[in-house]
Point group: D2
Amino acid sequence: MDKIKAGVLGATGAVGQRFVQLLADHPYFEITVLAASDRSAGKTYREAANWILPQPMPAQVMEMEVQPISTHLDCAVVFSALPTAQAREWEAQFAAAGYAVFSNAGAHRMDEDVPLLIPEVNPDHLNLLPTQQANRGWDKGFIVTNPNCTSMPMTMALAPLHARFGVEAVIATSMQALSGAGYPGVPSLDAIDNILPFVAESEEVKMNIEPNKMLGTSTAAGVTPAGIRISAHCNRVPVSDGHLVTVSVKFRQKPSLEDILAAWREWHPLPQQLNLPTAPQPALVVREEQNRPQPRLDRDAGGGMATSIGRLRPCEVLDVRFVCLAHNTIRGAAGGSVLNAELMMAQGMLEQFK
Amino acid sequence: MDKIKAGVLGATGAVGQRFVQLLADHPYFEITVLAASDRSAGKTYREAANWILPQPMPAQVMEMEVQPISTHLDCAVVFSALPTAQAREWEAQFAAAGYAVFSNAGAHRMDEDVPLLIPEVNPDHLNLLPTQQANRGWDKGFIVTNPNCTSMPMTMALAPLHARFGVEAVIATSMQALSGAGYPGVPSLDAIDNILPFVAESEEVKMNIEPNKMLGTSTAAGVTPAGIRISAHCNRVPVSDGHLVTVSVKFRQKPSLEDILAAWREWHPLPQQLNLPTAPQPALVVREEQNRPQPRLDRDAGGGMATSIGRLRPCEVLDVRFVCLAHNTIRGAAGGSVLNAELMMAQGMLEQFK
Amino acid sequence: MDKIKAGVLGATGAVGQRFVQLLADHPYFEITVLAASDRSAGKTYREAANWILPQPMPAQVMEMEVQPISTHLDCAVVFSALPTAQAREWEAQFAAAGYAVFSNAGAHRMDEDVPLLIPEVNPDHLNLLPTQQANRGWDKGFIVTNPNCTSMPMTMALAPLHARFGVEAVIATSMQALSGAGYPGVPSLDAIDNILPFVAESEEVKMNIEPNKMLGTSTAAGVTPAGIRISAHCNRVPVSDGHLVTVSVKFRQKPSLEDILAAWREWHPLPQQLNLPTAPQPALVVREEQNRPQPRLDRDAGGGMATSIGRLRPCEVLDVRFVCLAHNTIRGAAGGSVLNAELMMAQGMLEQFK
Amino acid sequence: MDKIKAGVLGATGAVGQRFVQLLADHPYFEITVLAASDRSAGKTYREAANWILPQPMPAQVMEMEVQPISTHLDCAVVFSALPTAQAREWEAQFAAAGYAVFSNAGAHRMDEDVPLLIPEVNPDHLNLLPTQQANRGWDKGFIVTNPNCTSMPMTMALAPLHARFGVEAVIATSMQALSGAGYPGVPSLDAIDNILPFVAESEEVKMNIEPNKMLGTSTAAGVTPAGIRISAHCNRVPVSDGHLVTVSVKFRQKPSLEDILAAWREWHPLPQQLNLPTAPQPALVVREEQNRPQPRLDRDAGGGMATSIGRLRPCEVLDVRFVCLAHNTIRGAAGGSVLNAELMMAQGMLEQFK
């Protein structure tokens, strides 16, 4: 199969590095462009990127020259790891110029005509794209986004439950890894022997609105949110990778614990059916040990693409409670966008980008 | 003032060391006995205790000989840092033998006739003691307990709110420090770069029943629990000291955020009125910064005896949510029992132990 | 190729788990036996092992029944992760019973007739085996050991230098990872926000005698130690995996820094020539960045089997100084023994165990 | 006693905060000025300083207005926590304007006519001040500096040994705390589960030249360095406070281990004789446990002003080796300068600043 030429925007940062790693030997895509801020442009990637991943930098990108961000890049698809402000400036320009844009940025996630996509959860939301193109006068390009790294595991865990039992309300507390703040990110004196009970102004808002969009109903006209009341307490913890979330849930219909376990275990969503290259098998790993999932032991499940769940038990206030976990810079960021692109590829929606 | 002779049971362990530190220069009590398991008995305290506190071992206890646990100790009051099983075996024997027993152990906390006491919260529960002595045939001795280290900060934060507005339901997630598991406690490979989403079988149960007892109504006949539905998710985090708890609350009457802040700030409970030696002034430290309280910066507030609260804001599911924190081995353990003893002393209830 | 049947002794512990992981899909060996203490025997491996590795337990061992340690196991080769005392009791029995014993234990490392082997460093020391068998009356079985996890990276870094320039003296300071102490190992309260300036009575001794044996000259009669004066300061640091060692070296002949870099870069020892399955290519990774190697970024180089070196510069007291690093539970433990076995296999020395 | 008016330069940073804390209730000095960069000037200290110390901000400074740095401050003495570049720009101006300058910055430490002072080690180096004033045309003002936070504990440990036995050579490896890099300082992703084998270009140089100046002989004409060859490996470790250093030493005369212990224990230098307010008693804490000193347990010895030493034993290459530790932001920074000022005060050298 001919691979599609892909560029990474914001390639030198923490999420950009994950894109590079995940796309380095990808069966569908080939990295032809690494683009970053002017400060990095002109250097080799090896010089420009302060590589912070435990796995070594892929050999094929080491000597590639980092390019300035522009809409004249030699690629058809771009994966965006741009900071929000830059994403707001650039992503629509790329789409207008005919690129397929898969973005991890928050800039367009809540735009009415932009899919906020988890392929396992709401693949049908891609039906927003014709409207998006019509609204904005784009004939080929488009923007597809993936959710915030903390919304992501919780939405995965809720999706099969919402489909069967109707989720009415959720109270969640996140324990978010340091890599979620990028690099240099959190100062070490704030992280050592400490917890920060605050992540960012918008973090708890995202935990409320993003799951409601993803679990909502999409028509060409837009998405009707799911109407779930969600309250989140977001915390930063001294963990390198892996966001852990405690969740209490109230349902419209009252399932037993067995019903819930069955809903999780029987879930075999589209990416797993299509056997997409980075789709984890299974999508949800339900742990039976009473002290799992743990970030250090479970974040790499399914190559960092699976969501791990454990400790299902009754909740004295709502109906049930449990814990879920996903790798925040793989599944919760770069890997999420890569899977979005794989889904469109497998459905024949990227043919004109070949 | 003549000091009362005090013994520490389980003196060599983590909580025992805190008792020793807090009682070393105490105006009411004088350490005359350090008692521990047979393995330690006969050694000097310096030899027997693997001292793990950052503050140095008090000079006056270094050369004291550790004694085996027996009811023939040269003291009138004992502070118990015994493990649950040993506490169950020994504490009632000490009370029967005429000792005043202030216990940090879980063994008798939920006994109907034993006060589970936070002096700021339920000082009137000491009215159980005559019943306790009558029930058990003790003429002088008694048992008073302090709550679990995680129940403690949440109960402190809820007490003035419950009094004014009536608490109906609570969903809480704890992030508990390593010292809560004692020494050697949590293996470092479980703690580094990790979170354990589980503390102990009974931890989440304690978070439910202990606050209900403390916030309940006590008569000579026993305590009527407060009837609050409480759901807790307990987690172990890589922090040395200081338990942080996120809390969502539903009230019977609906206070505004200002009402709640006023309730916290105007609270001036009995230990603070009596100016007890280790009572923090104020009892509650309400932080205004959006990223506080933090374990490293706030656990030592009020000498480790204050409870810090922050991030009060509306809850989309219940009514309001906030974060609270206390030092788990000071206020949440040894310091809690010391304050219990101070309260009784200041109220003239320990005269016969002088 | 027919695989050789292999057993893991001490299979449930930290090093045992690494053996299981490394042997799970090995081209030469097939795990047929998992043996451990009586407490674990009879359970499935999944039940018996508290799996602490970030990579999931290999599927093929999950349901294997753990066997008690005995010399009647259904395998020809055993990999020993036994504690020293048990290793002293059992390993010679296994060798006497005809098993090939590859041991990570310290019990027999310094025995005159037992090879202490790093395949890159002293593959010729296998010439001790006939003497070992003759001395002990073993006709088929034997014991081959790998060095202590801290001796290992330093000896790898010194080997090509000693061959060219003659090492006379070494002063080293180790910063050793927590996993080196096994599980539960170091209490978390000793590890958080802390350094322990002490590892074990014998650790600094091993750092002196083991490199001298490995860098010494072996004849059938025994090994003549290299005669290098080595002084080591061993410390435990809050790192999960990866031992870092700072090294100052004095040479008999005085090489330039370029000479040293050349010696490291040109080194292409036997396991790399033979392309053994777990031999890293290259054996030594020489980093040019001034802040490398780092445990988190470099421990997994070469699949955890490479030794990383950096910061070569003059020493104001001896001749030069540098920093080296290796993964202590892979290359410094289980992986070392696996590579020893691969070396013997590739040299036809395990034919009679097929 | 009338207190001397004191200003803190760079008051909002990590070291500036320590100055504020140590001077808040000082018997000799009264904080009248908090000066910092233009960005902070005009705000209250409470607003301007992101307070990162576990102890609360002293009440008396909370509402003080932070002033811009100028030589028209209302104080007689300044304590400088300025970054090197700013210190180079400002400190001489302050001295020229008649202020007594006690600086923690590296800018003037190695100037020939500037004392690099540890009051226990080289109080006589204050004899450089008349030359300094003559050289520079200052009639009242002067600059006195304290050493780098890593040089400090090693120099303290060596001082009494050098006086008795003559130190010839030293090889040291530091494990330096995160607070040594200030705030935000080290990114948490570099600190978690990791060691950085590099601190700063100049760090290892300072470890060589500073002890030689302090242990050298001072006359009015300047300091003759001690001529000790010193080789240092500097590392950053995941510890909040407390620099640990492993040290191997070669002596001119060969003392026994007992001789060395005696030299440490019998040392009763000038600040301790004068009983200066922040002088620790004793200056050196010699630990006998085999696993001490440790940062978490020993950094606060003597209120953070003592140097702890342990693990004295023979060195196979040089003569002896040991481990030493001091609190890097107290004794190794702000506290060092405060003690310098106390020494001059007690010797009547600050009379004209009253």
